[in-house]
Symmetry: D2
């Protein structure tokens, strides 16, 4: 059955698998010290325009969020996030497990509003009781957001400016960063992300790798970050598995090309669904598309194609999510044309 369930339903880009096979018998030292890791780092530094960036490879997204947030916060600090943020809802409390509160502010189609962020920080320090409260010690964004939306360059600049004014780091969760950067509407580049944030990651798991996220500290990593990674059980013994994958993804523009492919597939999917009379719950410029279906239609459709339930829209309608990826085939989109969506 055709599946638009999410962007991690398939293995890895074939070039990634090929390189893993080619290098398989080379004896390499562990924990990210091998030359493939170093080569991947060098390529990422170049793409980011940050020759001094420190780069670490972790395995998965929730893990990366928890390790980075814990390593950068002081004990008495929490992380500010949208109330829809992955760290706030869908990580089984991984951030709280590290001892830090997620301080939520309202979202606007997945994004936080710079003005509200500023008001929140101002309000905190004006509160006479703030020493009895959790200090906002970092701002967490995801780009694209949980709802597939993107910040504009101007919004990121504003948020970054607020963080610098309050001297707290800005952390950008880029689990789907490739799909954000290759969106046709965006004016945000990888260099912008590197310049405006204090730490971000380039998602591999959802963009062509078997697993892996590349954490980039554009200026400087927290001291002994590797030990913090180990302490959180997040240091991969065969670091090569991550290094070789990211080295491949950042060779010959592969990461960007396969991300663009997913965007093209998403745009085609939008076209097809619009032609079939579908309404979208909100406008998403990336690879996740949110469609409002009558409950009966959704029920019928489920027999023919895999997608995910997002939320109830009203008594008789449901929001469902279709996701394209590096692996989506044009034929899969075409097949949608023949479905009965009435």
């Amino acid at each position: 059955m055709i599946s638009f369930e999410n962007d991690y339903i398939q293995g890895a880009h074939p070039e990634v698998l090929k390189r893993l096979a080619e290098t398989n018998y080379e004896p390499l030292s562990g924990y990210g010290t091998d030359p493939y890791c170093e080569s991947a780092r060098e390529k990422i530094r170049r793409e980011c325009g940050c020759p001094d960036a420190e780069i670490h490879f972790l395995v998965g997204g929730t893990q990366t969020n928890a390790v980075v947030i814990d390593a950068m916060l002081k004990g008495y600090e929490g992380v500010v996030a949208a109330d829809t943020g992955h760290v706030a809802v869908h990580e089984a409390g991984a951030v709280e497990y590290t001892g830090h509160k997620v301080l939520t502010i309202p979202h606007y189609t997945g994004k936080i509003d710079p003005g509200e962020l500023k008001a929140y920080l101002e309000g905190f320090y004006q509160d006479a009781n703030h020493e009895h409260m959790v200090f906002p010690g970092m701002v967490y964004l995801s780009h694209p957001t949980e709802l597939g939306t993107l910040y504009s360059r101007k919004e990121l600049e504003e948020i970054s400016g607020i963080c610098r004014e309050y001297e707290i780091p800005l952390f950008l969760d880029g689990a789907r960063l490739g799909y954000g950067l290759m969106s046709s509407g965006t004016d945000v580049t990888l260099q912008d992300v590197a310049q405006l944030s204090d730490v971000f990651y380039i998602g591999g798991t959802k963009v062509g790798a078997l697993c892996g996220e590349a954490v980039v500290f554009p200026k400087k990593a927290p001291r002994h970050f590797l030990t913090a990674v180990k302490q959180h059980g997040a240091l991969l013994a065969k670091g090569r598995l991550l290094g070789i994958q990211f080295d491949t993804l950042f060779t010959d523009n592969l990461y960007f090309d396969i991300s663009r492919h997913a965007i093209e597939m998403a745009e085609e999917l939008k076209r097809v669904l619009r032609e079939k009379g579908c309404t979208f719950a909100w406008e998403s410029p990336t690879n996740q598309q949110f469609v409002i279906l009558e409950d009966s239609t959704a029920g019928r459709l489920k027999e023919q194609v895999v997608f995910s339930f997002w939320e109830k829209a009203d008594e008789t309608h449901t929001v469902v999510r279709f996701v394209t990826s590096w692996a989506t085939q044009k034929e899969e989109i075409e097949a949608l044309r023949h479905l009965d969506l009435s």
Copy 2:
């Protein structure tokens, strides 16, 4: 250069890579719910003789130790381990990070002594102040140990009996379990391990996989263990990566065959080094071999072959470690014959 640095210097057994490639485009659901994970679980249950075992796949060893220990201990409990135990020394405090103390007792070539374990537990409850101390809530063993040694069936039975008497679980770290089970000297089978412990893991990272450890609860996992795994950042989105690997390793006896190969290579390595006059620091029946070299010899040898420094033996001698694995080639052992070890 030939390397005996450790058992994770190479990628994965070629059969594992082949299966990853063959299944690459199948759309599969995430987080360990795919049919390969289920097939792997079923095969492992059969090998363990535990039809009801609950099995979860995690990514790495330190991660597995921290998640399992935290999930099985009550808040006021710690885990008893040998003072050489991996959890006690080389995990950057990952167990303490979960809030639990590692309660160490002396090791005997890497192993704990059943009599001393019993005395420790008895002594704890006899101590009038024990309510002000950390309760021993679990016993942690590794098999093979950090020093390559193995428990006998009788020792495991004694330790298991003590744990059951004190109603605390026995956790066996099997990061190198294959090499232990295939050792020519052992009388311990996988079924024994499953019967005598309350949780153990079958190491993949060091035995032919790119990454992955199969955690086996022979009777019953802690409630909502999957959520605990997620909370620790240890739940892999593409669970298929682990399921396919373990399914392959447990097809046609592969896990055991490649483990036996490593043992044969270790025995050959012992023979060669003995013939060349080497002394061993202690007797190891598994794939890690500890050799005493004169410092000057060790220095010279380092130019020709990779091994690891273990510890100083005395003023002029050093203990070094040679490790074989599923990937070690007979030619690599033969090459040792031609080295100058005088």
Copy 3:
């Protein structure tokens, strides 16, 4: 200057100090094992109508909340609370520090709504992703709430019923419990609290003691709770300090009498302020009163009497809080009559 700043601005009820002095030289064993602690426990059990209750004395409120919540939750669980709850806002993240998320639901003048609580729990288990989320493992109420309001017996019964249906404990924070029980409007007794909750505490710090909260487990405490208390740094060496105080407070009805006094003072304060034309932000039947003042009036008043800023009501008005206590004197209320509140 007269102060209505809060209910912990003075020392202890003189009877408490007298008993501390009288018993001062008796050599007593530590950590809550002395006969005064035991006597206090026995008296509290009788008042609660729970002959088997387990009772522990802790020092302060935030401490008690964190220790109780951590001791009763499983690792993967969080605590449900009103978004105004003390644990959610004013404890510097003490609950998150123990690794658990505070799961907030909306408040209605400080209280949670039983219907919304039920909907929250139902919704959680219906969410297909709930295994990736924090399980609701306990419900936290305060009674009186942060806003001075009280649950009715019917509301407590409903909430208790929901907790029992979902098999999660109900925890009632009674930092100001005396003031709630002695409120003229309430139909909730101490026996009701003991019957409907799974753990609660009887606040001493705010009701006549130098410090101390009596934690009551009507049926059964978590195993080795004393060790958990110690582990959190919350076990007082001189347990006598808490035992003697609670023994005194629960002798000859003292706790209830001094609580009733504070309520009478609060009612008198309401009368006086109403007569002077003040408007109340909401109706509070306990010892905290929330008054809306013009900003200029509030500014002037601050020169003559101590109260606390609560929040801005609108552009030109402020909500301020006046608190009475066991120590409030009639003359202090009378003095308010002479203030200029225009």
Copy 4:
């Protein structure tokens, strides 16, 4: 029955109780912001010779150790302590609960050896695997130690020098500091402690207060330490209870005078027991005395006087502990003369 059980079996010095009663009705703001806290701080600063010291009052010893250690360590660090250290053995894992390992080194009658400390730190950084281990981030001493012994000024200077060389703070647990400073043998003054350590505390609980420990940062406290204290549930609402007590103890030399009294009583106790033929397990210059008794003698003596079991000395002998305090009366020592210790 006469009791030498420990130094917290009685209430508080009468002057402390008197001041609590005298100030009882003064309305004072909470959390350590009242003028008594400030006055106590000022007096302590003067005694320490540290005009800029930051001083916080906490309630108990285990609490203070956990809060201070957690606030000063970085996430990946642990605290070095003697294997007999209170933090290592008798705090129910309170330090590990904060996520940090206690790194133990051998004790010599309760003390660590400067040379061994230095070797430990050197060895750590020389270990090629140290990034996979817990970094030593602080040194913890108690003075007096658990065994009643004292460091000499020279030893403290050496340890302090090593800490400064390695740029890690030195933390001195002074739960019984008064008894150490007033020991007739010592050459260590309070000013020395303040100069050589980076944080220490002046114990109140065991030296004349109902409860309370004064934490002194001679140079500078960690940022937002008050919030860290709150987060650990250790911030007392009625800070006055601690401020008034320490203000009294540091008025007219009271703290030192009552400490000296305990030492004089301990010396008298030694004399009496020596005259009666007792052997001491080791030489203690402070208020804890460790005596070797025949098991039968110990059994008989228990009927007449309270002391504590320390450890078995051999098959037929036991080490027991006698403790004097600010409250010990000469008559109690005299009474020992009439006991049958044969």
